[in-house]
Symmetry: C2
Subunit: 326 residues, 2 copies
């Protein structure tokens, strides 16, 4: 493969001059530039990006650590993050951690070994001590001391769900979510704000008998049996807010299984936006997060880092997404 030296030799100029032509920097006489450009075309020279990264100490690659891009919302977030970063000239490396801390560590280490310049982090694990805070890291949906943070307005979304269910005439409320992660690692995530917003709003207007259900997280797949067991004990509930659309779908399936009609008997609101690629049957009524706005916020922080500008946390508004289940 041709290198910059070959170009310089063939064009009869110095290496520095070729570099200046390539990068359009410094002074180069028009004739010299043309001569060099001609040689570059002739020998099909393409600058070696590894070597450039070497001197520039920067490679414009960003890593995105997320649990599972197959999850619809995460997948869309990934899509927009890649698109947005690409616009700014950055490339995206992806890591589906499946919440395995070992895999997260490998990618977090890439900040230290210069494989990537920055990391977008989406995890429920306690990786605080593993984050190199001297490097650009942005966290979504999870706060880490000293790491800029982006999240949807989960609390506001919880309130919004409560108000909607009230408007629709519901009397007995339930929240169902996997936000408390079990005993092993009782991490309270930002997502719990959905629960808090929902409960606090209802409490604030005098409704204090809200039923709060927790179920163990299983790779974002909600077990039908489990939900079934939960629901049969609460037959008077007529308004359910689920922590995610996936949870809402499981709830709706089980309600219908036990003879309840949705939304006639029980109204269900999910969280994420109710999108489904293959939407046969009901569309879930949902509190929507905008993956596009979130991606934009995350990327603007990354870009600010690159430009050595100040960065700050961002909370992204949510919206009500109508559907067939509430």
């Amino acid at each position: 493969m041709a290198n910059i030296k070959d170009v310089a030799l063939k064009a009869g100029v110095g290496i520095a001059t070729v570099s200046r032509v390539i990068n359009n920097s410094g002074y180069v006489k028009r004739e010299t530039r043309e001569k060099v450009e001609k040689v570059i075309k002739e020998i099909d020279y393409v600058p070696n990006e590894i070597a450039r990264s070497m001197t520039l100490q920067q490679n414009n690659i960003v890593a995105f650590i997320l649990p599972n891009s197959t999850h619809l919302f995460f997948g869309e977030l990934l899509y927009f993050v890649e698109a947005e970063l690409f616009e700014h000239g950055y490339k995206l490396m992806i890591c589906n951690s499946s919440e395995q801390i070992a895999k997260e560590i490998v990618y977090l280490e890439m900040l230290k070994n210069n494989r990537v310049d920055a990391v977008i982090l989406l995890t429920n694990n306690d990786v605080d001590s593993l984050i190199d805070k001297s490097k650009p890291v942005v966290s979504f949906d999870r706060r880490f001391e000293g790491v800029p943070f982006v999240a949807s307005d989960n609390y506001g979304g919880g309130e919004m769900a409560a108000k909607k269910l009230l408007e629709l005439g519901c009397k007995k409320f339930m929240f169902i979510g996997d936000d408390a992660q079990g005993d092993a690692s009782p991490v309270i995530t930002e997502v719990t704000n959905r629960r808090l917003g929902f409960n606090n709003y209802l409490n604030s207007i005098g409704i204090n008998d809200v039923i709060n259900i927790e179920y163990p997280l299983g790779d974002y797949i909600v077990s039908a049996e489990y939900v079934h067991g939960l629901l049969k004990n609460y037959s008077d509930v007529d308004g359910i807010f689920a922590i995610s659309d996936a949870a809402a779908a499981a709830v709706i399936r089980e309600l219908e299984h036990t003879g309840k009609r949705v939304p006639e008997d029980v109204k269900v609101i999910g969280f994420d936006g109710g999108r489904s690629f293959l939407n046969l049957g009901k569309k879930i009524t949902s509190i929507g997060q905008s993956p596009e706005l979130i991606a934009e916020a995350i990327c603007s922080i990354i870009v600010s880092y690159y430009n050595k500008e100040a960065v700050e946390d961002k909370i992204i508004p949510v919206f009500f997404e109508p559907g067939d289940t509430a």
Copy 2:
């Protein structure tokens, strides 16, 4: 940041020795090794991967160019490709091309500029001349001269769908797909084999009045209006094979809209596997592709390339995925 020279200096050895310790190569006396390892820990030294890539002329990064990772099947493929490559020590860079050739070019160029070592290509565009065939490239679902190729057994899948619909008693058949890409770029993709397998099998047993529908591709979203217009002209059809689950979903929605019952009046089989994250309502009966097996095949080719072993095309079996629509 500490570099290898710092380690050598502090440990009182040569740079080459430190390198040998790090890479566990060549001869190093046990005491020397321990001394060096101690210093590495002390000053928290991590080898710079960019510099390593520089000398090794290899960075173990693979690019995956695909139309849209938000599409469920592609998303799963992406997931398994990343997981499989990670197992072998390779990292994945992702490019959602949205079929834009300009974006595909940027990533294809990365082979030349050494940003990535290899490319996995999933495109409908005519990029043949843009592929650097001296570098490791694997193509999925699309044949390019001189580029190893992986695909599901689309033809066999078409046959399988025909047989199933016959078994179920269907008499009048329709295929609906977006495989011919319109006049602008009449590329015949591998996916057309689904149509061929379906038609040829039916023809071979004397059924020659199969209705073949083409509709324009629109970013994998199938317009309801369009499908509606198509279906109303063929009210006697009772067995439909759709080129994808997304197309099948659109067809089913419209059939039910016009008063037909699925599967009682019309049976519909899709293609991809019938998976849906939020499966409310019917599950699509489908010819399944295995993203896991496909990812495995793709990655084994990549790994063979790295090991300088011979590579060859691979066709992956499909399977029948029962559902509620046929």
